[in-house]
């Protein structure tokens, strides 16, 4: 009898889950993993190649299984890292290790190539935004050697702006790799002092989006962290025109992105190769060009009161050779290379050759 029950139980269990998966409505997006899921229409394209992905993506109660696996690795196997992230005191740290010397050298070479081509006779500034792992205890967790990174980057032909000491771990989102926008307010005086623009404090209205699930949240699969995202607005920003190379969005913030796959895209509408932000009513005769990654998306809206125009260039999405078609250079612009240590350590994505 026992054998019969187990035999039938097994078959009912496995066939039951397959039927539940097949007859449940397909989910298009996994918010937990921040990605699109494979849906049934892909089977029409190539059944044999897509079926595996389809049944995995549309497995019944998929999110519970994802969390269970995280539980297995983190709580049973006691792995400190899961999916390349550490979870410590409700803060998710992306593991950044080891220091990729080749990548750092390549990054330096790329920045110098950009400077030599477009700004041969100008002062340029550069700064490194440490990733959250900078604040980890290096005796307990694997982190890159930031001192070595900083020292190596001194080979960039520019003036270094040290922002590392402006921040602490609470300046970052708990569930995302990025700095909070309000944290940039602490760093702007340092930038102003070094670059030389005229700094004055500005009051902003805080707009809170809650709960915010950042990019790292999907890797940690941890449900108990309730993060929030604040974006800062004021009246000045209403006179700002934003022009993207790829799309027609013309505001500093796109609140429709809140609650989407990546809520951080609220800042400047997410990833974009080339953006011009023009301060309509300003006549300071001062422009800024930032070569950047996604960290600068939340900074730029806070710098616009100090400039007539800010140009943001993300060389991961545009080749530096074609920039001359879009850049209006006058040898007067302030130029800032602002990159996170994560991009410097994985610089193959930067399109400079």
């Amino acid at each position: 009898m026992r054998d019969k029950i187990i035999s039938f139980g097994f078959v009912v269990f496995i066939s039951g889950f397959s039927l539940l998966g097949l007859f449940s409505k397909d989910q298009d997006i996994s918010f937990l993993e921040r990605r699109k899921l494979v849906t049934v229409d892909t089977l029409e394209e190539d059944f044999l190649n897509n079926f595996d992905d389809y049944v995995v993506d549309q497995f019944y109660n998929r999110n519970s299984f994802l969390k269970l696996n995280s539980f297995y690795e983190r709580n049973i196997l006691k792995n400190k890292e899961y999916n390349n992230v550490y979870l410590i005191d409700n803060i998710i740290y992306e593991k950044e290790y080891p220091l990729n010397i080749k990548s750092v050298n390549s990054f330096i070479k790329k920045m110098n190539t950009v400077k030599d081509k477009y700004f041969p006779n100008q002062n340029v500034y550069y700064s490194i935004i440490p990733s959250k792992s900078y604040y980890l205890d290096s005796k307990k967790y694997l982190t890159i050697d930031y001192q070595t990174l900083e020292k190596m980057c001194q080979n960039i032909n520019g003036n270094y702006i040290d922002l590392m000491n402006n921040f602490n771990i609470s300046d970052y989102y708990q569930t995302d790799i990025h700095l909070k926008q309000e944290s940039w307010l602490k760093a702007i005086p340092t930038l102003a002092k070094k670059i030389g623009f005229n700094y004055y404090p500005i009051t902003y209205q805080k707009n809170v989006y809650y709960p915010f699930y950042g990019a790292s949240y999907s890797k940690a699969m941890e449900v108990n962290i309730l993060d929030e995202l604040v974006y800062l607005t004021n009246e000045l920003q209403e006179d700002v025109i934003v022009k993207h190379l790829e799309n027609s969005h013309n505001k500093l913030y796109n609140i429709l992105k809140l609650g989407g796959i990546d809520s951080y895209d609220v800042f400047l509408n997410g990833a974009s190769s080339f953006i011009e932000i023009t301060n309509k009513n300003s006549n300071m005769n001062r422009e800024l060009i930032i070569f950047r990654d996604s960290f600068a998306s939340s900074l730029a809206p806070l710098l616009i009161p100090y400039y007539d125009k800010i140009t943001l260039i993300d060389l991961r999405y545009i080749n530096f050779q074609v920039l001359e078609n879009y850049l209006n250079l006058n040898n007067q612009q302030d130029v800032l290379f602002l990159y996170s240590s994560m991009v410097i350590n994985n610089s193959s994505t930067i399109k400079v050759n």
Binding site: K4, I6, F51, F65, K78, N79, L142
Partner: protein, 458 residues
């Protein structure tokens, strides 16, 4: 299609089981054949025709041998089987080595290794030899022969099931709830070994290979890789044996706790038994075994271990791996075996030899291999560093579980408990633990962890 996939566990398997048991007994082999061919096609669209050719060819040669007992048919059969294997698996290896040796520039061929060719080639050869030796009668029903070769539990990565071991079950077998339940348990144990242990150990090996080295780190890597390959391959064999039982077949065991062996000789009696017994029965004994002069016996052992290494892959590290074991088997045969008295030290010696062996197995670049081997013994390497301590702590639990899993301790405890007065409770807990394994395996597979089987590449 791999066993440890959502597609196999939740879609393919229930459909096969339900179709199989709803079909009248006399047609059940056709169900197995149809689904086995689908199983093969799912992973290997292009070589189904090769599989068919191989089966039909060996079926006909089997009939011819049976009819007139001519050795020439057997030789032809072996040549064609090995020829196919040589072409698909080794031709580029030979071209590369020819180019290097004679400074030539012959282009390598664009060949994809057909899934399971190393396994079904050996099954076919064993069938032909056994028919020739009159140990079995040839199979006259082509569909049955096709079912034997293509039966999905053992088609792609073994074990190398011999026809003479299942020919009776192929024609007349007794499925039962008891055997089915046994099969389910065995399948789930294999699944757990593969997904919950081997895949995590793979992650560990990948992490260790990326960080700066220390002596301890290299030994840790060797240990993790030994565990990984053991749980990966023995897990696959468990699943194959379990699936066989679900459909009424009893395959022979392929692993018998090899990592507790107390000599290299003992290790090879416990590791990949179907392969080592194939070489013993069809190569070693054919060459005269040990009933020959000492020098000839030496030659026979050398041939067997050269072939064992080469079977695993068309690369010099595999040949070296085979010869490495030849060396230890030889010194054990000559004098060492009789000195291996202390169980712990014998085990330790064997385990270290096996671990170093798997480093050879895993490193295709010989320069890199030489560097790793030297570093394992302290050449220009610190003894221990921060990264090593970090990874040792991080993967300590999985290493402890692996250490336990390589022994028969848990199995013995369960058997003893089942005999005691709490046997009902123990049995219930056993069922729950199998269910937990299935649920955790599902969770891991959905999380897209690393999954391919190491032995698929052979």
């Amino acid at each position: 299609m791999v066993f440890s996939s959502i597609t196999f566990i939740y879609y393919f398997l229930p459909i096969v089981i339900i179709s199989y048991f709803l079909t009248p007994k006399k047609y059940r082999n056709y169900i197995l054949l149809i689904f086995s061919l689908f199983f093969y096609t799912y992973g290997e669209k292009y070589y189904l025709i090769l599989l068919f050719f191989s089966c039909f060819f060996n079926y006909i040669i089997g009939l011819l041998i049976s009819n007139n007992q001519k050795k020439s048919w057997l030789i032809l059969g072996i040549i064609i089987n090995l020829g196919l294997l040589a072409y698909f698996k080794y031709v580029n290896f030979f071209i590369d080595n020819f180019n290097n040796l004679f400074n030539l520039n012959i282009n390598t061929l664009n060949i994809v290794l057909p899934l399971g060719i190393s396994f079904f080639t050996f099954q076919n050869i064993s069938y032909l030899v056994d028919v020739y030796r009159k140990e079995i009668s040839c199979q006259k029903n082509v569909f049955l022969y096709l079912t034997y070769i293509t039966f999905f539990p053992q088609l792609i990565a073994g074990p190398i099931v011999r026809y003479k071991d299942i020919n009776k079950e192929l024609v007349n077998r007794q499925e039962s709830y008891s055997l089915f339940r046994e099969g389910v348990n065995r399948f789930l144990i294999g699944l757990g070994k593969k997904v919950l242990l081997a895949n995590v150990l793979y992650e560990m090996c990948s992490s260790l290979q990326m960080v700066s080295s220390s002596v301890i780190l290299y030994w840790l890597l060797a240990l993790a890789y030994t565990f990984q390959i053991y749980f990966d391959f023995s897990g696959y064999s468990d699943m194959a044996i379990g699936l066989g039982k679900m459909f009424g077949f009893n395959f022979l065991e392929n692993f018998n706790y090899p990592l507790i062996a107390t000599s290299v000789t003992d290790f090879w009696r416990r590791w990949h038994i179907s392969l080592s017994s194939f070489f013993r029965d069809y190569v070693y004994i054919t060459l005269g075994g040990n009933r020959v002069t000492f020098l000839k016996m030496l030659r026979n052992i050398l041939i067997v271990w050269f072939l064992t290494g080469f079977w695993h892959g068309a690369s010099w590290n595999f040949i070296l791996w085979g010869l490495y074991f030849f060396f230890f088997l030889l010194i054990e045969k000559l004098f060492l075996l009789k000195h291996l008295k202390n169980k712990f030290f014998s085990w330790l010696y064997t385990f270290v030899v096996v671990m170093v062996g798997f480093i050879i197995f895993n490193t295709t670049n010989l320069n890199e291999l030489w560097l790793i081997l030297r570093k394992m013994f302290g050449y220009q390497t610190v003894f221990i560093n921060m990264e090593t301590i970090y990874y040792l702590k991080n993967y300590l639990i999985i290493l402890i579980i692996s250490l336990l899993g390589m022994t028969s301790l848990l199995k013995k405890i369960m058997l003893n408990l089942k005999k005691g007065k709490y046997k009902m409770i123990v049995s219930s807990l056993e069922i729950i633990s199998y269910l937990i394994i299935l649920v955790f395996v599902t969770a891991s597979l959905i999380s897209n962890s690393f999954n391919p089987f190491i032995y698929f590449r052979f």
